[in-house]
């Protein structure tokens, strides 16, 4: 049972001109690249090994299983997300900044959102702490902090799973149903971009959280 720590390779091997050897970093980067260019569903352990020019099982010396690889991939991405300065504005301004920074990274690697959605706690601890500090500074206490964090998490990463399949959008023939409330609104849908959905949702969540804080203050 190998693959315990984070730095596995290069500890004692390339001290004397040995052939180049894989590193965990190379493996994670190769995985990220496959996800970036072809999506998460294209990433298989066998595909990854082809990318690395090794046999199918090579990566298993560095990683216990596929789930652990996905953990590492998600953590690596989140590690690059900057945290706003704690003094840099009101709690909601700072929350908007982190959330926008995470979203920017997700736009580069949309497949990662699916991994992260399922892992609320095993994410980058630095980032999670940053968000918790923002929420606590806003005035959330006790269980509320987790409830709020979970809600933001769900929306932020869940959003990327909601895809509009082209064949779902009905065409002209459906417009005849004037009784259909959805049909009457459909023309608006074409003008909406992912960005619109994102900022509308974030703004609404923050407005709702502010209402909670206000209600607490008047009690």
């Amino acid at each position: 049972m190998p693959a315990g720590g984070t730095a596995r390779a290069s500890s004692a091997n390339n001290k004397r001109g040995k052939p180049p050897v894989l590193t965990e970093d190379q493996i994670v980067d190769a995985a990220l690249e496959v996800i970036r260019t072809e999506g998460l569903e294209a990433l298989s352990m066998r595909r990854l090994s082809r990318e690395l020019g090794r046999s199918a099982m090579a990566a298993y010396w560095y990683v216990e299983d596929k789930q652990q690889l996905l953990n590492l991939v998600a953590k690596k991405m989140l590690a690059e997300v900057p945290l706003p300065d704690p003094e840099s504005g009101t709690w909601d301004e700072r929350l908007r900044k982190v959330v926008a920074a995470i979203d920017a990274k997700l736009r580069e690697h949309p497949g990662i959102a699916e991994i992260l959605l399922q892992r609320m706690l095993s994410t980058d601890r630095r980032l999670m702490n940053g968000v918790f500090e923002i929420l606590i500074s806003a005035g959330f206490e006790g269980p509320e902090t987790f409830l709020t964090y979970a809600m933001i998490h769900t929306y932020l990463f869940g959003r990327y799973q909601v895809v509009l399949h082209a064949d779902e959008v009905p065409d002209e023939e459906q417009v005849d149903n004037l009784e259909d409330a959805v049909a009457t609104q459909l023309p608006h849908l074409e003008r909406l971009r992912g960005r619109d959905f994102f900022s509308y949702g974030v703004d609404t969540i923050i407005a709702g959280l502010q209402a909670r804080l206000d209600a607490k203050a008047n009690a």
Copy 2:
């Protein structure tokens, strides 16, 4: 290319004591049952065929591919969700009712949430219309209606993807990090149930939406 319409079988076959034949309904029910008892990841086309006592390809006569089967499964579940009477209360009371009714069904078949999260438009049209009508009656207009619908959709179905893996929750040794904002809040997490996360999120979203409506009214 068979499997065009919804009612495929039993139109002309069991009129004269022929051997019993599969129906789309049986197939969808068998799929629902597998999802209910073992989760979505346990449902494969081959597993389904075993459940039906047929060969691996039997279901393909009724369904074009696995995606279409999942569409049918999701629609069947949503078709059972009751819509509240349009006169039965304020918009937010009615919205809470639909959303709670959907959540009740999801608790029976948690795997379905994953299917639905990815299909915002190809859901039960009756239900989607019901929600749209509630939103329009609340005062949302134009693109706002879609933005609001999408937000509710994302939270409602995304929530079921957020699972707390037992091995993620750190134990006593992490409590030493008193600097760690997350660690200080961890004791609260154990007392929280799925229900708490659900109602906290729904309440916050509704509060945020109400704030939007209020802002519109004062303009």
